[in-house]
Symmetry: C2
Subunit: 341 residues, 2 copies
DNA sequence: CTGTTAGCGCATTCAA
DNA sequence: TTGAATGCGCTAACAG
C-alpha cells in the first residue's frame, strides 16, 4: 500500500488578498512593509483580508526582490562524537531564539572535515544567496573560515576570538577570568593547595583557562600541586598520583565537566570523598553537573547573551549599520554546588 | 572606531555566464539541470565558464520558479535544559548529513512552548514557503504537530511513532526490543535477579522500555526486583533501598544514561562496586558512557539510519513518489562495556 | 541541439 | 494615499 503526496494547495498570493480587500497589490504590500503610508480604514480592511486568507508573503519572491534572505547560516564545528563540544546543543538553542527575535531563521551547515571543504561550503552558500550572513562557532585565532568569510565579503560573527589581523566580529567569554573566579571561590572556602585537571589539547580557550588558573593562584598565594603524569598514562591514573603525593591538594579544578568525571573517579579510587575531602569544579555547566553525586560546581556560560550579541553584530553588518570594531567579552557565572560548597 | 558592511559583491548571474560562453541563458540552465540535452562541446564550454566565474544559481530565483526550496525544516522539541534530550545533538548532525546527501539544507525551527505555537510555526513556514517539508522529533502518539502538518498538507516525517489514525510517515527504534536485548545480555552474563531504574515520566518510549524489560525477564524466567520508593523520595535513596533488600539484584538496567548515574551513585553509597557487584546498563549511548568509571554499557540508537529514512520518506513525498504507508522500525545496537562485562 | 518568450510573487520605481 | 508598470534571476514551454 502506498500513497503519493497531497496535492500542494496553492498558497494565497498578494493579488488574491488585493482582490479580496478591493485594493491594489501595492497597498497590500504597503500594509505589510510600510503601514504608516496606508489609510487606517484601508489598513484595517487589508489586514482583515490577510488574516482571513492566511496570507504570508512568499519568502523566495521577497528575497529575490530585496536580497534579504532572513536566514542566518550556522557553520557547525564538526564534532568529535567521543568528546562532543558541550556548547553545541545549548548554544544552538540560544542562537535560534536570538535569531527568531530578529525575524530570522537558522540554517545548519556542516561541511565535511578540512579547511578546504569549509571554504567550499561558504562559497556555496554565498553564491546561491541562501543566507544573509554566517555565525561561526569554535573559532580559532587563525581560522580559515573567518579569513575566507572576510575575503568573500559575507557578513559573519564568530563565537570565539579571531586573530588581531582579522575582522573583529566576535563575542566570547573570558576564559581566564572565569578560571580565576573558580580559584578565588576555592580560596574563599579555605583551600590553600589546589590542583588543575587539564588535557594536553592545544586549544586557545583551554590555554586561557590554564593561564587564568595559575595567575590567580599566584596572586592569592596558593600552592599549585602539579600532576606528573607519565606520557600516555590514563588521566585517572595521573590524578591518583596527584592525590597520593605528600602534599595532597584539597581542591581540584577541572578544565571541563567531562574531565571532572575523571577527578571524581580518582578521588573515590583513593578512598576519599568528593566535597569533604577534595573539592572539585568543572567548566561549562552542562546538565550533567546536576546529575552527579555530589552535584558539580561549574562555570556557566552566558550562551543566550553570546548568541544575542552575535546576532546583533551580524545583522548590523547586513543592514550596513556601524559595527564596533572590537570584539565583545561576556561574563561567566560560577554556579556553586555540593562538590565545592 | 566603527566599520560598516563590505559592499555586497554582486553575484554572477546566468546571463553573465551565457555571455562568457557565447550561448543563451537557457543553455546554461540546461547545462546545470539537464546536461543530456546539451551538446558535449557546448557543455564543456559552458561548464568552464561556470567554473571560471564561480556561478551558482540564485536559490531564491530558482525556488520562485520551481517551487522547490531545497530546505527541510526541523521542528525541534523544546528541551528541558535540566534534562536535555540526549538525541538532540547527535540526531541533528545525522539529519544535516542525510539532508546534505540529497542536496538539502536543514532549517531550525523552535516554536515557543505550547501546541498552539507549534501550529503557528508550521503555518508560518508553509505560508512563507520556506521549506519543502518538515522533520519532527520526539513525536507523541497523539501529536498536535503531526495532526496539523497533515491537515496543512505539508510533507513531513517524524522521529517517533504517530497514532494509528495519523499518516504513517515515521521512523523509530523498537524500544521494547532494545530493552529485551539488554535483559538477554544480562541473562547471558549469568544474572538471575535484575532491577530496573525508571522515572515516573509517562512517555511512550519509556513505557515501551519498561514493557520490553518485563516481558523479556519473564520470558527468561528472571527475578525482577522492584524498588518500593516512597512518594517524593529521591531516586538515589529509592535505588539504595532496592540494593539493601534481602534479594539484592546483581544487575540494574536504567532507562537512560543519565539515570544510570543515579544507579552508580547508589551502588557506591552501599559500598559495592559497579560491575563486579552490580552490573549496570544505560540507554542512548551518549558520549558520557565512555567517560564513566567503569564505562557504561548502553543501547546505541541508529541515528544516521533514522535520519536517512526520514529524509528519504520526506523527499519521496515532496517529489510525489509513492511512499510506504507504514512506518519503519530500525534496529538498535547494544554496546557492551565494563559496567556489565 | 539551441534560442526566444514568458512569468513565478514580490517590492520599488513612477505617475495619478 | 493609491494604482500601474517594471524587473529581480531563474526555468518551463515552445520555436527554430
Amino acid at each position: 500500500m502506498t500513497q503519493g503526496a497531497r496535492p500542494p494547495r496553492r498558497a494565497t498570493t498578494i493579488a488574491e488578498v488585493a482582490r479580496a480587500a478591493g485594493v491594489s497589490r501595492q497597498t497590500v504590500s504597503n500594509t505589510l512593509n510600510a503601514p504608516h503610508r496606508v489609510h487606517p480604514d484601508t489598513l484595517a480592511r487589508v489586514t482583515a483580508a490577510i488574516e482571513e486568507l492566511g496570507y504570508r508573503p512568499d519568502q523566495s519572491a521577497r528575497s529575490l526582490r530585496t536580497g534579504e534572505r532572513r536566514i542566518i547560516g550556522y557553520l557547525a564545528p564538526v564534532d568529535d562524537p567521543f568528546d562532543p563540544n558541550p556548547l553545541m546543543a545549548g548554544f544552538l538553542e540560544a542562537l535560534v531564539d536570538a535569531a527568531g527575535t530578529e525575524g530570522h531563521h537558522v540554517l545548519l551547515v556542516r561541511p565535511a572535515p578540512g579547511a578546504e571543504r569549509a571554504r567550499a561550503a561558504i562559497d556555496e552558500l554565498v553564491a546561491a544567496r541562501q543566507v544573509d550572513g554566517l555565525v561561526l562557532a569554535d573559532v580559532l585565532p587563525d581560522d580559515a573560515r573567518v579569513a575566507h568569510a572576510a575575503r568573500a565579503g559575507v557578513p559573519f560573527a564568530a563565537f570565539g576570538r579571531t586573530g588581531a589581523q582579522l575582522p573583529q566580529h566576535w563575542a566570547d567569554i573570558d576564559n581566564g577570568a572565569a578560571m580565576a573566579d573558580v580559584v578565588a571561590h576555592l580560596a574563599a572556602r579555605g583551600h590553600r593547595r589546589i590542583g588543575f585537571a587539564a588535557s594536553t589539547a592545544d586549544l586557545p580557550w583551554l590555554a586561557a583557562r590554564r593561564a587564568g588558573f595559575h595567575a590567580e593562584a599566584r596572586r592569592l598565594g596558593l600552592d599549585v600541586v602539579r600532576a606528573r603524569s607519565a606520557p600516555g598514562e590514563p588521566a585517572v591514573a595521573a590524578l591518583r598520583t596527584l592525590l597520593r603525593g605528600s602534599e595532597r591538594p584539597t581542591a581540584v579544578a577541572a578544565e571541563s565537566d567531562l574531565r571532572a568525571l575523571d577527578v571524581y573517579e580518582a578521588i573515590r579510587a583513593e578512598g576519599l570523598a568528593v566535597g569533604p575531602d577534595v573539592a572539585v569544579t568543572g567548566f561549562h555547566d552542562t546538565p550533567l553537573c546536576r546529575h552527579l553525586h555530589p552535584a558539580l560546581t561549574s562555570v556557566r556560560l552566558p550562551l543566550r547573551a553570546i548568541a544575542g550579541a552575535l546576532v546583533r553584530r551580524l545583522l548590523a553588518q547586513v543592514r550596513g549599520e556601524p559595527v564596533p570594531a572590537a570584539g565583545e567579552t561576556l561574563a561567566t557565572e560560577l554556579v556553586v554546588r555540593a562538590s565545592s560548597a
